[in-house]
Subunit: 314 residues, 2 copies
């Protein structure tokens, strides 16, 4: 089977990772996940993207809300609210259980990658889910109202402030984890897929780590990306709004341009077929596929399309 690495952030990327996990044996899929959104809250280490991936791969994700766990309850947060505490970041009861276990494992001295491996195993996730680094990288959203920590921008301010840029604190010093290095230098690797995650704040932090970007630039296997922008809009999240504020017209082509020479091909949604006519010479090769993943079958079909494209490019 083709062994692949998927790079992703939260929801959209996790859906494609789910598709891969359904069509590849566990050993043949490694998901490298953004940790730029991670933060400390109530003394707990919250890893929103890693958790979304783990919940999605273990069929525990909440497909109604698009975040958090299915069949979640809110007893703790309700009481935090009654006691006058902060409730802007919603931590469900089941979700909190995972955060308590993570805190305990981290306090025991384990690296985040090792902690994640243990948590994933407890959730029954069989593919490798790797935080991009064991060292902290923190996404700062530069806005017209000043710098905001990612969760302040994303949750507390509901992505309202106008974005002027991003920076990824700690990315310069952060090294990829040994597990990430091993996955990217695996001689059995067939290809790398950048999932349809926000290119700025989900994939951006991963690529901001020198040790990862250099490995991708030197990769001997094809690298493809799936656009999170479909028909000029983001399926979910602030990618389109950020793009409009930073670059003007919102388009899947702009995503391709953001990844530039790093990728060998880009998968666009079939709704964007008109864009193929606008291809410029400096754009990577563009391919069409149904990329909107409403059902599990959609996820699996897109995963198969990506695997086919990787084989074609080899």
């Amino acid at each position: 089977m083709p062994r692949i690495v998927a790079l992703c952030g939260g929801v959209g990327g996790a859906k494609l990772a789910y598709g891969f996990a359904r069509v590849l044996p566990p050993d043949d899929l490694t998901v490298i996940v953004n940790t730029g959104d991670d933060f400390e809250h109530f003394g707990l280490r919250i890893c929103p993207d890693v958790d979304t991936v783990m919940y999605t791969l273990s069929d525990r994700d909440n497909r109604d809300t698009g975040w958090g766990r299915a069949a979640e309850t809110w007893a703790v947060m309700d009481e935090v609210g009654r006691l006058g505490g902060e409730t802007w970041f919603k931590l469900g009861d089941k979700d909190l259980a995972l955060h308590l276990l993570r805190r305990q494992l981290l306090d025991g001295g384990a690296r985040l990658s090792e902690v994640t491996r243990q948590l994933a195993a407890r959730l029954g996730v069989q593919s490798a889910v790797l935080p991009m680094s064991d060292e902290p990288v923190r996404t700062i959203v530069e806005t017209a109202e000043g710098d905001l920590a990612f969760q302040d921008y994303f949750v507390r301010r509901r992505c309202e402030p106008q974005v002027t840029g991003f920076r990824f604190e700690g990315a310069t010093q952060a090294r990829p984890s040994p597990e990430v290095e091993a996955a990217l230098s695996d001689p059995g690797l067939h290809g790398i897929v950048i999932c349809p995650s926000n290119p700025y704040v989900s994939v951006g932090p991963i690529l901001a780590i020198d040790g990862i970007r250099k490995r991708l630039e030197r990769a001997s296997v094809p690298i493809i990306a799936v656009s999170p922008i479909v028909a000029g809009r983001a399926i979910k999240g602030p990618a389109a709004k950020m793009m409009a504020e930073l670059s003007g017209p919102v388009s899947a082509l702009l995503v391709a341009r953001l990844y530039g020479k790093l990728i060998d091909a880009m998968v666009l949604d079939e709704q964007d077929h008109a864009l193929l006519g606008e291809r410029c010479d400096d754009d990577p090769r563009l391919f069409l596929a149904p990329t909107v993943m409403r059902t599990s079958d959609d996820r699996i079909a897109l995963a198969r399309d990506c695997l086919r494209l990787l084989e074609e490019l080899r």
Copy 2:
């Protein structure tokens, strides 16, 4: 009104504190609480006795179980268990909310006394609830099976190992908090009551702090204690078992002897009237009252009896 200080541990002591809180204006009651049972679990600071006192004074205590909160739910712990985590220490959802707030306030740099003041205020507790010290003191139970951290002995091992002694790590270095010092040196103070808490592991750690013990030894106001041993048995908890293992016959007189010259009088339960006949010269003065607190009225009645005794002793 008479201004008093009550020293206590968890359940039994908290009941009498509740009685005082119902008969004294908030400014006239200060409760100094054992923190020797405190520990870190899942990265949270758990303060069992302080929380029991706060829950009891705010009418949130669970009178069925004798610990934790009323109308508690267990969504987080249930999930921790499903994920293979430790569930030997039961943290209810509402209880966890308080621990999250405490963690956040401590991480913000506030002293435990200040944090407790804020949490008590949020719970609507009006009397002052003071941790005995802002510095860590940890009760170690010395047993035939080796040293055990208090919660390991008390919860995990269900008080089964035979006790050979106690020590209070950190007590030598720990200073009473400024709030405790102020309460004990308040010129308006009328008396000090050692509540019917375990003399070894609830009151013991408080008295092990030099700055508190010396203030009690020099106190110009009467100090009385209420026996937690009634008719040779502890109302709740391991006090009687500890006493049997350490000293032989279990008796309220032995509690009086443990406190020795520190106290001016001891309140025994009416069931122990026979003990009055055995009084030795080196025992403090003994008084009888109904000390078994089943109802709120029982708590209030015992509080009034204590206040009357303190007035007599002045």
